[in-house]
């Protein structure tokens, strides 16, 4: 075969191969990962948070308090704010914690917990069960038994996949006009694998998810996580002994599922609290939740409302 014919044949093969991959990726983003048939012949419905889900977070989950036990399972002593990068103003507020309001001499183990400890910036670190459901195709709901809280994680309609870090850099996400509240306003997005340092082949070729170097997506790869940005918060506590965060706080979370060696499902939640008013640096922690078969252990425990003085 002459050289020019060989070159032409290889080019044609490449065009057909990558063209097919591009069509498959555009028409059926979930098909590659789940092994289902491509849906190229069917009308393409707009993607929702639910239909684009990279992992199933729904169900009952229990927090497993295997670290920071002293700060999470009991109320730490007044003035104990070790590990939190608090500034002087925040320490002054934390020192105003009044044990008498939470059980007096037994305040550490009384189980009387201020509702401010269940605000979005500290919530996922509290010992509790959570129930995750789809409230609507673009809203994931998290309810808690201890503290009796409800969080709504909202996906942007038609745009459930994105990269939170990049979206923040581009200034596309941030505080909204929503009324401040304990759980604030949470914007959610599914982050797909290989956003960090994939090579051209892993990202997909030109035209497939953005082309070389554009951070496109290879949908055939497993994994991914849920990223959540929460703003519009009212002041709350990072710990149940009154360690404060301010209304200027923003919370960045990542939810990633995994299995333990016994086959049980878990969620790892990484929480980054950024508070320019009370924290010298972002405060970053993790919490692990294990899946439960049903809600039989769900045990509502309301928190204590204490008027701020």
């Amino acid at each position: 075969m002459k050289l020019r014919s060989l070159v032409g044949l290889l080019a044609l093969t490449g065009a057909l191969t990558f063209g097919h991959a591009e069509l498959a990726a555009q028409a059926a983003p979930q098909a590659g990962r789940q092994g289902g048939p491509p849906a190229a012949q069917q009308p393409v419905a707009p993607q929702t948070g639910q239909s684009a889900a990279l992992t199933d977070l729904t169900g009952y989950w229990v927090s497993v308090v295997n670290q920071d036990w002293y700060f999470r399972m009991i109320t730490p002593p007044k003035g104990q704010y070790a590990q939190v990068p608090l500034n002087a103003a925040a320490r002054k507020i934390a020192d105003q914690f009044d044990p008498a309001l939470y059980g007096g001499a037994n305040y550490q183990t009384s189980g009387i917990i201020d509702c401010r400890a269940y605000g979005a910036a500290g919530l996922m670190h509290m010992p509790m069960r959570i129930h995750i459901t789809w409230d609507s195709p673009d809203v994931l709901k998290i309810e808690t038994d201890w503290g009796a809280q409800t969080r709504l994680l909202r996906f942007s309609p038609g745009r459930p996949n994105d990269d939170l870090e990049q979206a923040m850099r581009r200034g596309e996400v941030g505080p909204t006009q929503a009324q401040p509240s304990m759980q604030g306003y949470s914007l959610a997005m599914w982050e797909q694998p290989f956003r960090l340092n994939a090579n051209g082949w892993q990202r997909g070729f030109a035209g497939r998810g953005g082309g070389l170097g554009q951070g496109g997506i290879d949908v055939s790869q497993p994994g991914g996580d849920l990223a959540v940005l929460t703003t519009n918060l009212t002041p709350g506590w990072l710990r149940r002994n009154g360690v404060p965060y301010s209304a200027r706080t923003r919370v960045i979370e990542h939810y990633l599922t995994f299995q333990d060696p016994t086959g049980k499902d878990w969620i790892n939640v990484t929480t980054e609290v950024v508070d320019p008013e009370y924290l010298n640096t972002p405060f970053i922690t993790t919490a692990d939740f294990r899946k439960e078969p049903d809600g039989s252990k769900w045990a509502p425990h309301p928190c204590k409302q204490v008027a701020e003085r």
Partner: protein, 318 residues
């Protein structure tokens, strides 16, 4: 150049890309997500890894009675024995320590496939090798020597590095507590990044001393221009001890409570640990526990046991 009126250069390019694409490993080759220097974040669980925790302080750990019994014979002064001062740390503990981590990869020069990832911790110079990918690594036989770092194989699943470690030497769950891990211990890890944040989920299973896997997530932050100091361990006499003396507690010695419990307000029952202390319903149980005895009372009991033990030791000394 033109072929039938078409510019030939794009065709060459397309052909070259096709050849590379057809020859490239499938699925996508492994990543190098964790290369570099990483500093431990001290925002959670720093206390147990910064010199502590204290003996007898086990809340939130899924330990068995057997583990508790072994730990009750442990004397924290054991770490001061010259023979043990430079003892390495096991892979089940190293990543949890407050120490800089460095990770690097080795690739096959011909295929560019990742063949191993190595890590080292500044503290105690713990060097570990993760052989890649697991599917192409022949595991050692059960009878192969067990080591501090064990034998690790890994694979990439999406952006997550899965690591499985076996052949670990008998070790400990936490430093300075005497909580044992047997040589049947197996560790599974999931290691991944969010930007400059590195998360290592460690799942430690031990049929001898843990009632369920101990799942622990550790955070690191990237150091763009990292460096690492050497760790020249120098054994010396920190405590005056006669030759041949081994600090330990005799089996009857049960009171190992520390004053810290009382300062932290931790009920003594919770300090015994066990998987029940890890779940939210334990908060309800805590309400029902009686108040702790006074520190003076417990301290007096410990002093009595210590005196009894010293008397036995002196009696049996040559």
């Amino acid at each position: 150049m033109q072929i039938m009126g078409i510019n030939r250069r794009p065709l060459w390019l397309a052909a070259a890309f096709t050849v590379v694409g057809l020859l490239s490993p499938q699925p996508a080759a492994a990543q190098s997500l964790i290369n570099g220097y990483w500093a431990p974040l001290l925002h959670q669980d720093a206390h147990p890894y910064a010199g502590g925790p204290d003996p007898g302080e086990f809340p939130g750990l899924p330990i068995t009675d057997a583990a508790r019994k072994v730990a009750s014979n442990y004397d924290e002064n054991e770490m001061m024995l010259r023979e043990l001062q430079c003892r390495p740390f096991p892979a089940t503990y190293g990543p949890r320590a407050l120490s800089t981590l460095r990770a690097w990869e080795t690739r096959d020069p011909e295929t560019q496939e990742q063949i191993k990832i190595e890590t080292t911790m500044a503290f105690a110079a713990q060097h570990r090798t993760i052989w890649m990918p697991a599917s192409r690594v022949t595991p050692p036989p059960d009878s192969a020597p067990h080591t501090w770092q064990g034998f690790s194989v890994g694979k990439w699943v999406g952006n997550v590095l899965w690591v499985h470690t076996t052949h670990l030497k008998e070790g400990f769950l936490q430093r300075s507590q005497g909580l044992p891990l047997s040589d049947k211990t197996v560790m599974d890890e999931r290691i991944f990044r969010y930007g400059d944040l590195l998360v290592n989920i460690m799942m430690i299973s031990d049929p001898a001393y843990l009632s369920q896997p101990f799942v622990y997530s550790k955070l690191y932050y990237r150091i763009p221009q990292g460096s690492m100091d050497p760790y020249p361990c120098d054994a010396r006499n920190h405590l005056p001890m006669p030759d041949g003396f081994v600090p330990m507690r005799l089996p009857f010695y049960t009171a190992i409570y520390n004053k810290t419990f009382f300062e932290h307000g931790i009920p003594l029952e919770a300090a015994r640990g066990g998987e029940q202390t890890m779940f939210p319903e334990y908060q309800d149980h805590l309400k029902t526990l009686p108040p702790n005895p006074s520190w003076a009372q417990v301290s007096a009991e410990q002093g009595k046991q210590r005196a009894e033990q010293d008397a036995i030791r002196q009696k049996s000394a040559p």
